[in-house]
Assembly symmetry: C2
Homo-oligomer: 140 residues x 2
């Protein structure tokens, strides 16, 4: 994830989760967002309620090798609408950007399964009730 403005504390907290639970997720600082969007080697998809419906845009993304999903805050700079190849709406009323990102990722990749991720120090065993964690529990 490219984060603008950068937030080193958030990046550190995410890195701690990855260290424990595995995966390759990383928060990279983006002092300027435009070079990241303009220089991206793939398809740039801006998530906005003003865009075209998800079900119209997703079929056009099936052959994309790399996709950059862009979410903005309350006030999105107007040029982002032009710089993105697609403006895609997960819903057409005001909604959480986190929610839009989650639904877009789920539609593109599906939900992650319960298998342990390579490099994980611990993982879950899904249960009908309660909690079950397997592996190194560190300082807990």
């Amino acid at each position: 994830m490219f984060l603008h403005p950068p937030d080193p504390e958030l990046a550190r907290r995410v890195a701690a989760v990855v260290d424990r639970w595995g995966g390759t997720f990383e928060v990279l600082p983006a002092e300027e967002w435009r070079p990241t969007v303009k220089g991206f080697d793939g398809v740039v998809v801006h998530l906005t309620m003003y865009g075209l419906p998800l079900d119209r845009v997703l079929p056009r993304l099936t052959r994309a090798r790399r996709i950059l999903l862009v979410v903005g805050g309350a006030k999105v700079p107007p040029d982002l609408y032009r710089l993105a190849q697609y403006n895609m709406a997960v819903g057409h009323q005001p909604h959480s950007e986190v929610a839009a990102l989650a639904v877009a990722l789920e539609r593109l990749l599906g939900v992650p399964g319960p298998l342990a991720i390579p490099g994980a120090k611990q993982h879950l065993l899904p249960r009908a009730r309660g909690k079950r964690v397997v592996g190194d529990r560190g300082g807990r």
Copy 2:
């Protein structure tokens, strides 16, 4: 939405969005969460990364007339795992509760279309670029 602890300011802000964009969404205060869960006339589904995979639980919900999705904060009281009919995991690593709720709602209901909602003062016309809002723009 039943919100515990209550947050009148959040309820007011959501009501203002509904007034403008339509819909029936409402934030209700829940001074105590247990009576809401215990007294619910329908299926209670607790969203937690420790639960059973989404794809295993969802087929059991297809005949449910009413569903209460429950999301907790950092520390969920242990009895919620027993009070819920299902503990359902959208993902099995730490993740946003908003993201879990969004994906669960999308799987249950699909994404909302661009049609105007009854009672809406304004709605969007989806566009490939830029913004298009139709209707009363109020004090803007």
